[in-house]
């Protein structure tokens, strides 16, 4: 597969390490969240057959974590963003 890196352009997916569902961005706070909430965050997945937002790490490249939107049936990739930008835009900070 080819991932169109937002900074570096098309790169072989072999340079990347896959993590999974980009919902992992929304980590609850361990001091306030319930174990149930943390369980859902850590263990449950929508696992769609179709568009899937997922985290890839450009380990053999520029070390950026990316949010890739990919169709899990056709493998077509429709958007690639820097995970840091996505995380900030979705409210993550410190």
């Amino acid at each position: 597969m080819i991932i169109n890196h937002p900074i570096l352009g098309p790169r072989d997916a072999q340079e990347f390490v896959y993590l999974g569902d980009a919902s992992l961005i929304h980590r609850p706070d361990g001091l306030t969240a319930s174990i149930e909430a943390f369980h859902d965050y850590t263990y449950l997945r929508a696992n769609p057959a179709g568009l899937h937002r997922e985290l890839w790490y450009h380990e053999q490249g520029d070390r950026s974590w990316l949010v890739v939107t990919r169709n899990t049936v056709t493998h077509e990739i429709t958007s690639v963003e820097l995970a840091r930008d996505v995380a900030r835009s979705e409210g993550r900070s410190k």
Partner: protein, 188 residues
């Protein structure tokens, strides 16, 4: 100060850098370059840029490298560069850069984390296409990229059509060297 004088060896385990020539290509181990990483502290990009130009240190754009008077640099990741300088004058490169950037940047010595090989000759793409998925032929001179060679994360810097610098993990210098020699032979 103790009377201890440690004598360096090269990544290939020799006293002097090794040079091998295969047909039209030469592979030279470079031990005369000091290397450090320079990463912008949060919110200090403008400061770093100002201090860099004051120090005559280029900060090339993404995926590019640039040679300055003393310093050269290549991009590694957003707001981070690897800085090259002559080893003879800048062995303790971190000290030089700390003096220039203070707390505006995070600076880490990288010199011996890597082995550098300079690949010289025409049509280097013929050899590299057997080692890496990087499209060297299509890349403009000055391109600097990280990619995989021999299962290892390496930096390739296309300094000109006939000169490519390869930075690989120092501990795997012999494996990388072997891979290059084998690839060159199967093209010749």
């Amino acid at each position: 100060m103790r009377d201890v004088n440690l004598k360096p060896i090269t990544a290939l385990g020799l006293d002097l850098p090794q040079v091998v020539t295969l047909g039209r290509w030469t592979l030279t181990e470079r031990t005369d370059v000091a290397l450090a990483s320079l990463a912008v502290r949060r919110g200090r990009l403008a400061d770093v840029q100002a201090l860099a130009s004051a120090a005559g240190l280029p900060l090339p754009p993404a995926a590019m490298s640039e040679q300055g008077a003393v310093y050269a640099a290549f991009w590694v990741t957003p707001e981070m560069w690897f800085v090259e300088a002559p080893f003879a004058s800048h062995e303790d490169i971190r000290r030089h850069l700390l003096a220039a950037f203070g707390e505006a940047a995070s600076i880490t010595e990288q010199t011996d984390a890597w082995v550098r090989f300079d690949l010289v000759g025409p049509g280097l793409a013929q050899v590299l296409e057997r080692l890496s998925n990087f499209d060297l032929a299509a890349a403009p001179s000055g391109t600097a990229t990280r990619t995989v060679l021999e299962h290892l994360g390496c930096y390739l810097i296309k300094r000109s059509e006939t000169l490519v610098s390869l930075y690989g993990p120092r501990s795997s210098a012999q494996s990388l060297h072997h891979a290059w020699v084998v690839a060159a032979q199967s093209v010749l």
